[in-house]
Amino acid sequence: MSPLALGVLVAVVTIVILMSGTPVAFSLGIVAVGFLLIFDGMGALDVIPQIFYGGIDSFALLSIPMFIVMGSAIASSRAGSDLYEALDRWLYKVPGGLLVSNISACAIFAALSGSSPATCAAIGKMGIPEMRKRGYPAGLATGSIAAGGTLGILIPPSVTMIVYGIATETSIGRLFLAGLLPGLMLTALFTCWGLFVAWRGGYRFSDVSAHFTLKQRFEILPKVLPFLIIIAGILWVLYGGVATPSEAAGVGAVFCILVVAVIYRMWRPFAFWKIFKESMRESVMIMMIIAAAALFSYMMSSLFITQSLAIWIGELEVNRWVLMFCINIFLLVAGFFLPPVAVILMTAPTLVPIIEAAGFDPIWFAVVLTINMEIGLITPPVGLNLYVINGIAPDVRLPTILWGALPFMFCMVLGIIILCLVPEIALWLPRTMMQ
């Protein structure tokens, strides 16, 4: 069987097994083991455990659980609500101000958390009920938070950027910087759409009774300040070159825990235990996928599928933008079914040499890839943010959320198009700050 035909077979079998409801990690694992045993012989058993283990045997991966701890420490406190309330006190008079507050709060929280579900949960817990109370339709309330939450993996720090950096040997620091302006651009696009809907739907001063004095507006600021300081601190540690991402993440995690403990008087050991338990669950899930993806990509490489695919695409000689368009469609579809980390690990090592040969910048591509993954986070069947929204607002049905989130997905597609036209949005910051 030719490697390309074998590749098609692998794809079909993987999709079938994924569809059976088998966890993503074990689906990848069993497909890899099955194909290795059939096409490489029983001897492959001798290296399978080494490769599975080797997938997570890396100091750089430590930044993933650390950034998750950081986010969940803050999410466990009232910080999300405070952040959100502070923004609301300043923005409540703006038409659709509540929506703007929510999206901005998501963007700020995204700078403290490496994962999107955490961002979604932290802001949504307060934001969704509040918006619905003030008369925003359920779809808009849940959809905007679902979409705003996805900023968690675009605005640094970002778990998926770390995985991309390790998989393709790209500087994680540069990747983080590259995500910042596009993240702000998406925030702006989301905000514009939100304002437009609010203006059209007349959710202007739905809470006319509320009034915040200047004093009230200022007295809440100190509560938000520590988080802005942590963000600034992490940026400084990462780009002032004080430490590697793993080290910065570890220190950031401890700072976040301390800030939560001091400001919110969370001294009970149980509260800390819960932070770590939740972080453990999320990082084990991700790390298992990373380990299994190592087996999967070993299988793909050993059977020469990866290489044949790259050669085949290289020989197609299509226009580079047609190629980029096809890659985006492919990533979008992959994102429907797989969590971001799995998509990146399975595709980036093959795609990056191809897009580099076509003259695209791998750092710019990381941003495009991430925005595709953001869309995948709010589409069924595997949309991690949808699970979170379902937990916060169980009474809102899935189609309502999807309908509400759809315009925001268009904003992300628009974001990708803008990035294609003006790649500098992603590349300017890493270029100027890290030569």
Binding site: G43, I51, G241
Partner: protein, 309 residues
């Protein structure tokens, strides 16, 4: 049908890296010999992670590899003598070492573990610093250095330096951000990671190098035993061609290093025999001593290596 073998290494493929070239030469020569063997090369760790290659060869899941032997020193501690400071002084010395008792012992351990040596290769390296030139041991005192491997770390610590362990790919950022004052790595890495942009002085390998690393082309014994005599001969002949190519290429690599650094306005210096001897004296009290104490037969290995003129 032809026997299809897999060859793997960690360096970029098709971009002129000497170790990739060696593997490609072996592929060309063996396939040209027409003995029914084809070689599939997996460059740039596209199959195994660098350190996994040894295990994979022992188990017969990887056939050929360009492999820095020290990577397997966790399993065979004797191998750290192939990345020991001061044992190899220059490329001609390395060539003489290949036929010594020392290398006979090392190759016996390789063979017993289930791996066969196809070509010998020793890569040179040096020091670079942005603080001051590293010539005498005193120069290293107070500098924060990145060293390649524990034996070098022990020697540098004994000389009064402090160590920041990191992969060679991180040296550039380490220097840029001030986490490092200097580094010790191979000539190839010094050039490919453009470290000349960050340092003010390079200690080139020259005639009295401290840093040499054994990076042979290896083959799994399980694979070897499956080959017939003609195929074995073809591999050994191909290995010799690769080795001869390498000997000239490695010297060229050092020249390229010097040119790149001079071109970038970096001061380039080389150790004198006396300075080299001072370092070896420190190594005797630190890395050699440690090696002799902890590794079975370690003392004899060092003695045999030092005996090579």
């Amino acid at each position: 049908a032809d026997i299809k073998l897999k060859a793997s290494h960690q360096w970029p493929g098709g971009k002129g890296d000497v170790r990739d070239e060696m593997v490609q030469i072996i592929k060309r020569e063996v396939e040209k010999a027409g003995v029914g063997v084809t070689l599939q090369v997996y460059p740039g760790k596209s199959l195994f992670k660098p350190k996994q290659q040894w295990d994979a060869m022992v188990k017969g899941q990887l056939d050929v590899s360009a492999f820095p032997l020290d990577y397997a020193s966790g399993k065979h501690p004797q191998f750290s003598s192939t990345l020991m400071p001061g044992l190899v002084k220059n490329h001609d010395h390395a060539k003489r070492l290949n036929d010594s008792d020392f290398m006979a012992d090392i190759k016996k351990i390789i063979d017993d573990a289930g791996v066969v040596v196809i070509s010998d290769a020793w890569l040179a390296g040096g020091f670079a610093s942005k603080k001051e030139c590293i010539l005498d041991p005193e120069d290293a005192r107070g500098q924060v250095l990145r060293a390649a491997g524990p034996a070098f770390e022990q020697m540098l610590v004994a000389a009064g330096a402090s160590i920041n362990a990191m992969p060679s790919s991180e040296i550039y950022t380490g220097l840029q951000t001030g986490v490092l004052d200097g580094a010790n790595t191979s000539s190839g890495s010094f050039v490919s990671y453009r470290i000349y942009e960050q340092v003010s002085c390079l200690t080139e390998p020259g005639a009295n190098a401290l840093w040499f690393m054994y990076e042979p082309i290896l083959m799994s014994k399980k694979t070897w035993n499956k080959l017939d005599d003609k195929q074995k001969d073809a591999f050994m002949a191909a290995g010799q061609v690769a080795e001869d190519y390498f000997f000239d290429a490695a010297k060229g690599l050092d020249q390229k290093l010097v040119d790149a650094y001079k071109g970038a306005g970096v001061e380039v210096v080389g150790m004198s025999a006396e300075q080299h001897a001072k370092w070896v004296a420190i190594a005797k009290e630190s890395s050699y001593k440690n090696f002799a104490e902890k590794v079975p037969g370690g003392k004899e290995l060092i003695e045999k290596a030092l005996a090579v003129e």
